[in-house]
Symmetry: D2
Subunit: 323 residues, 4 copies
Amino acid sequence: MTAVKKIAVLTSGGDSQGMNAAVRAVVRSALYFGLEVYGIQRGYQGLLNSDIFPMDLRSVGDIIQRGGTVLQSARCKEFMTPEGQQKGAQILRDHGIDGLVVIGGDGSYQGANKLSKLGIKTMGLPGTIDNDISYTDYTIGFDTAVSIVVDAINKLRDTMSSHERSSIVEVMGRHCGDIALHAGLASGAETILVPEVEYSLEEVSERMKQNFAHGKRHSIIIVAEGAGSGDLVAQEVLKSCPSYEPRVTVLGHIQRGGTPTAFDRNLASRLGDFAVRKLIEGESDKACGIIKGELVTTDIDKVVNTKKPFNMELYELALRLSQ
Amino acid sequence: MTAVKKIAVLTSGGDSQGMNAAVRAVVRSALYFGLEVYGIQRGYQGLLNSDIFPMDLRSVGDIIQRGGTVLQSARCKEFMTPEGQQKGAQILRDHGIDGLVVIGGDGSYQGANKLSKLGIKTMGLPGTIDNDISYTDYTIGFDTAVSIVVDAINKLRDTMSSHERSSIVEVMGRHCGDIALHAGLASGAETILVPEVEYSLEEVSERMKQNFAHGKRHSIIIVAEGAGSGDLVAQEVLKSCPSYEPRVTVLGHIQRGGTPTAFDRNLASRLGDFAVRKLIEGESDKACGIIKGELVTTDIDKVVNTKKPFNMELYELALRLSQ
Amino acid sequence: MTAVKKIAVLTSGGDSQGMNAAVRAVVRSALYFGLEVYGIQRGYQGLLNSDIFPMDLRSVGDIIQRGGTVLQSARCKEFMTPEGQQKGAQILRDHGIDGLVVIGGDGSYQGANKLSKLGIKTMGLPGTIDNDISYTDYTIGFDTAVSIVVDAINKLRDTMSSHERSSIVEVMGRHCGDIALHAGLASGAETILVPEVEYSLEEVSERMKQNFAHGKRHSIIIVAEGAGSGDLVAQEVLKSCPSYEPRVTVLGHIQRGGTPTAFDRNLASRLGDFAVRKLIEGESDKACGIIKGELVTTDIDKVVNTKKPFNMELYELALRLSQ
Amino acid sequence: MTAVKKIAVLTSGGDSQGMNAAVRAVVRSALYFGLEVYGIQRGYQGLLNSDIFPMDLRSVGDIIQRGGTVLQSARCKEFMTPEGQQKGAQILRDHGIDGLVVIGGDGSYQGANKLSKLGIKTMGLPGTIDNDISYTDYTIGFDTAVSIVVDAINKLRDTMSSHERSSIVEVMGRHCGDIALHAGLASGAETILVPEVEYSLEEVSERMKQNFAHGKRHSIIIVAEGAGSGDLVAQEVLKSCPSYEPRVTVLGHIQRGGTPTAFDRNLASRLGDFAVRKLIEGESDKACGIIKGELVTTDIDKVVNTKKPFNMELYELALRLSQ
């Protein structure tokens, strides 16, 4: 006896690499365990438009390596209202769908939370590059985004060494500095500016001066967008070290694209399968995550209302190693 | 008071991506904590040749992104004898070196074990692409090797779809199927042959037949070298499905090269720093690893004498999702 | 007045990167100039099966970046007979198709030649990674294949430097050494073995010895498959320099895959458009190519019966620069 | 008898990928032909500082694959004065250097021109990503820069498809739209804005509207920096199509970095060798280039005073194929 018989899957919010691998895992696990499975196109907007279609094994063939999401994504104001949510639940019921897997970020989770209160069993999967969801160590897409940043900095390094300049790289992360932190550690950035840690631009400039004095041929500053803009940082640095001519690179949406890393594909595959199994076991209104290597579920309410703690230990390590 | 004052670092055995990031972390952490630090060129052979030189902050500048190892590696039969080991310990003592970080695999660990019994404090770091070291979830280089395999399979996929053929990919892993397992899950391989799981080539052929019958346009078989050769698998498949014309690709040493992934650089950075701190705290004869996200030390004896368990759950997931 | 009104396009022989870009260019140029355009699935086999379908602007959307060929490819013995060729011409006539663009290698060109004699206007586009077609400086896919080889050698370099070993890399090219030549020049290979130039393995070994004596830390030998097998070269080298432990890498079919380079996409786009314009102008039984930067047509007979000359100047340059 | 006996090589202006391959070719060809060869660090500034050192075969080992320039580059106001130029020529004479290869762009060429008038035989090599040097079809670094842009657009494509948005990509090129043109053709951009072709933003917006109306799921606009800023284009598009939410990506200095493509390495190798041979033959005050596949020299005066013509045919092809 399974707690659900027909489930649907949608992607919502900003897309992230690995969403397709998660969709594939949801579909194939569901079929493996004898469920029927449907796709919903364009997130909650598609749900309200009844843009719902049956999926089989071949629907998710050859997508594990693709960036973006074949189910597409869109914003939906209507679904933020109680009327919209009731309409959505009704449409699912009309299709005989009793379980829903939502892949996305915070806003997507809140939608799942509402639907669960209206009788649909729901599971949330953390699909966002920002790693800004609590009760999971990693979100789907984060490792790929970090890889893209590190690859871009590799390229900047060549030209920095040739000109002995410094580089300021603005990366994604409005409320969470994890992309900046992990990419900064991996690329040996001297300075990492994140929303979670206060900083003084004067100290940043001072540190740069000292690094050059100690023979560092180039200097990398990574700024999470939530901690400031690359241009502003450059202006400040220029004031106190006019000869450094810092170059600003804003990486933008390329951080969201590209084929997912093996890490993200495997994380997405494990989480997609796990969500299906938890629905079958009767759980609902839960966010799936990975904590210290173990797959776990947590109440969506708790996830949505908890700020993810920042890894100060890693931050200090990054600074210690980039002397 | 620190338990060591002067430490050295060497890389030994087959090289792996991220070894340089580990060397950088050892050197910079050691300097940060007030130690003197030396590099030993070409592993234990270099030790016996007194190929030892002081390292400073700049010695490890601009290497975090490089594959291979700037300290180079070599095999050394002499160091496998008690005389060689005593000579090595004496050379270290002559240099005033009381601590040693060894980055490598099983054989490298055994050398560290011997030296510790001769009065040198030692720490082992898992540097090998094969992920075949116990008491650590990941070795340094493993994530990069998996990425290279997955990237190669992405390329094979294009041409397989065009010709509707199947592909057999032989990857590294003599005693441990982890590269095959993780790359297989990430690339949606239909069949994953590893040394840890018995298999019948007849069943493999049968599964391929069924996949084609169910509309799969191409079929990927990954074979860890320890489980068989790609060519042998191809011959068997050809016998029972003469029309499939499987193509064999042996990925070889490209799996060891290339810039390390962000994951490997960060793992190496954390482990390198950790090894230094543990030496300072007085630990010795230990292997450093990461288990469920936490850095840990384990007695080298225990590590060397324990076979790493195979993740059957992940293996079954890979098969479940590649229907 | 255009000489053709309805044209078709097919890909044949081994696939190569950029074939999709060529198909896209053929379709969109044809539509732009007011023609109707059809796709034929699976090469000449698909033609004989009447696997023919109309294509519009959207049929070729989002394919310019994909490796392989969306039209797929297959071998077809039946089409090598006069009966098969007449059947093919008849099927085209039954569909009202008066022009055909064939993308492929030598065998594909011969098919086009036969069809032109049966009243179908034909154009051949050089789609093969081997660069083994005469009257064109570059074939579609060649630049990408060379890039893949160079990228693989970059990875091998890391590990060679770490171990001070030599590497033997076997690449594609049965009758034409161009992949070996261009990848060898680009990666600084010390030895390049191609079918067009006789060589002695003794001299190869001797050269390697000298290189090591002069301080080269690693040595790369590239072998085109038409010039010998990597394994055989390794055995010879081992005989005279037993300590070098050469490592053999056979790159295989990954050379055919992956997203095409910008160079190949643009070459394919230009040639696809050119072929359509030449059909409209009334030309037939021609192979399109690029010679010294200019797009040209040449009689297929002449192309098929001329061996491509080898660029000895470039070969000597490669050796001169890899001392 | 060679016209020069001791030559030097420097890189100047903005760095570009492939400069190292060119330096390697200059050094190794010079040695091969029996010349002595020197490197000058940091361009003309280094010359004035007598930062000159002898180079041998090993000085350029293992650099062919590196981005940037091992000789570094810097701006130098002093060398723009007659006094500076005389000082530079004198320093070269003092070292017994009678020939100089300068790798860089327009400004670098002008320096070579001045030195040649002061008795030093000079050759210029086109080292710049912008392809803005006349009398050569390609500059060293251009192919790599285009590849980086195309790779970035590949990533943007994923996320654009998921959200059905349009993307505006600003690329390098102040006076020359070639990066925009070649990357635009290769990535199927609907709109390509270059300094050489006037455009109206209204028409651009109109074209976008039509594309969406005809079913294009995403739309790419490439803007060369010399033709306008990505942000300004976005504002205009937003005015007439408020629902498209175009996303702007400014690629910046990552276009200058990364390992050079095989194409750039081979172009650089050929040109470096060619420059040395021309110096030996007694030519001076010339820029080396490649025109229709042939290596050529042209008077520097002529190169510096001629604006490179824009390839309108390719531009029209790009638009024709991106309907």
